[in-house]
């Protein structure tokens, strides 16, 4: 489903060239549950940004669903993101003035989904993530766990093939973190591809495939 070949990413910091990613080559199959671990600065977030089409590699190629997306324009990338990729962030990134329901609906609104079609899908998502009672609340009236559930529901609203989670438990206590992880794992059980970036070994250990990154390169790739 995802095929990265020789991905390079360099940043210029001051007059120094920093290699965030060096010759990353990997494949991710549909329905895999993958965690990317590594110390900070190891390039795991950069890799996630490239996988999520938020950033472009300086060299190498990226195939998503048998389509080379390396050379697409910004707007084409936006459309691919909209259809195929769902994001979950450490800081939730909910729009503060919108209610839980409106936040979840946002990707469908941006894609121009018909309101008649949106309503049942929204009701279904709210029920699925246990948010029906909180649908009219704004993010500041929700707990951290609820916020992250809203974010996951939002990521799922366009039924993307891939869910990218960047430190999804980083801002939650242990118990709530476990809860959120089990929500993500349920997506995987239902056939979704879930990629989690984390520096927490306990979280990383839950996945069936574990990628370790050091200095922008894949140091180990364990399965099972």
């Amino acid at each position: 489903m995802i095929r990265l070949t020789g991905i390079e990413r360099t940043f210029t910091v001051g007059d120094e060239q920093v290699h965030a990613l060096r010759a990353v080559t990997m494949q991710i199959a549909r329905g895999e549950y993958l965690s990317i671990m590594g110390p900070s600065g190891s390039g795991k977030s950069t890799l996630l940004n490239i996988l999520g089409l938020l950033d472009r590699p300086n060299a190498g190629s990226y195939e998503l669903d048998q389509r080379d997306v390396t050379g697409l324009s910004d707007d084409e990338l936006a459309r691919v993101r909209r259809e195929k990729i769902g994001f979950v962030f450490q800081f939730f990134h909910l729009v503060p003035r919108l209610t839980a329901a409106e936040n979840i609906e946002l990707p469908m609104v941006l894609s121009g989904v018909d309101p008649a079609e949106r309503a049942p899908r929204l009701g279904q998502l709210l029920a699925e993530y246990g948010l029906t009672e909180r649908s009219g609340h704004r993010p500041d009236q929700l707990s951290g766990g609820q916020c992250q559930r809203v974010a996951i529901a939002r990521a799922m609203s366009m039924r993307p093939g891939v869910i990218l989670a960047d430190e999804p438990t980083g801002n939650l206590d242990r118990h709530t973190g476990q809860e959120v992880m089990s929500v993500l794992e349920r997506l995987h059980e239902n056939g979704g591809t879930v990629i989690v970036v984390t520096h927490d070994p306990e979280i990383g250990a839950r996945s069936q495939r574990r990628l370790r990154m050091i200095d922008g390169a894949v140091a180990s790739d364990e399965k099972g």
Binding site: S45, N49, G52, L54, D55, D74, D75, A78, R79, R81, R82, E83, F87, F89, F91, H93, V95, P96, R97, L98, E102, L106, P107, V109, L110, S111, G112, P115, R154, M158
Partner: protein
Amino acid sequence: MRFADLLGFAWQVVLGYRSRTLLILLAMGIGVAAVVTVTALGEGARLYVVRQFGSLGTNLVIVLPGRSETSGSMPGVLIGKTPRDLTIDDALALKRSHAIRRFAPLIVGAGDVRSGSRRRETPVLGSTPELMDIRSMELASGRFLPAGDPRHSQPVCVIGTKVAGELFGNRQALGDWVRIGDRRFRIIGILAAQGESLGFNTDEIVIVPLAAAQALFNTESLFRILVEAKSRDQIADAKADVEEIIRLRHEGEKDITVITQDAVLATFDRILRALTLTVGGIAAISLAVAGILIMNVMLIAVTQRKREIGLLKALGATGRQIQMAFFTESAMLALGGAAVGVAAGEFGRSIISQIYPAIPFEAPWWALVAAPVTAVVTGILFTVAPARRAARLDPVQALSRR
């Protein structure tokens, strides 16, 4: 993104940042209200002048002695010619024209009007009975100047209400005598209160027969001849006739100036319209200032909502969608501001009209259209830069910073 959703999204932003919204509404509102009020004042002044000319009499042609012309040198001075006087005979000759309904020769001077111990300096008009119809004057009591040969006069006069009040107080003025200069006149009529009519307040004048005024001011020459054409279409004919008749009488010399009311009116109309446009344009500067405020606020919004914009991009919003969201928002704010401004402007106008009921203050339709349109256009124009900045925002950077 559907248009309804775009509106809904912008609406939530507008509601979400209330103090910011109020600030922009205020700035835009002041700009639009200024344009509406100021153009209403200008338009009111224009209509006022137009109506004043209307009260001057209809189909009026004014004949002045002397000619204003432009030539290489000053012909009158160098060749030793001075403009010929207009005389009563010149005026009477105008009877020959078929385009002229009536005319009134006019002499104007200042007279010392006395009754008993009271005295008052007033403008004294010498004319003929036709003056009343030409200037559409009305009498409160008595009658106007008697008909007859304008070369001979009876010692009678018609006075304005204010003159009557000041000289006679509560006493009966009609039938009494006043002294003007060294002559005595019997009051045969009192004018109805009409107020100001282009320079002359008819409440404050005294009208005497033409020959009496000639004797009083010791002059043969007329100040003006007021001519009324038979109809609006015949104003041009009347003017041509006047010029031809007087030219023949003045040995072929065109030494008079003929002004038609239309020409004067058109000039005033043009001047006042230009004035309205100018002050309206000055007021529109405040709209530009409001536009700059919108730009400023939008630039701040782009910085403030950096994470939101990054998020929208991550969720699949294209640069165009983000720009559209900003444009919709500022158009909404500008429209709201324009609505507030038009309402406030109309309110201001109605207050001013209560204070000056005589002047027909009314915002011209073009100002009511142009001000809101300008508001929206400036709002959108000044959002171009912030919207582009938002659309170009790098989502990775926008999302990474807390």
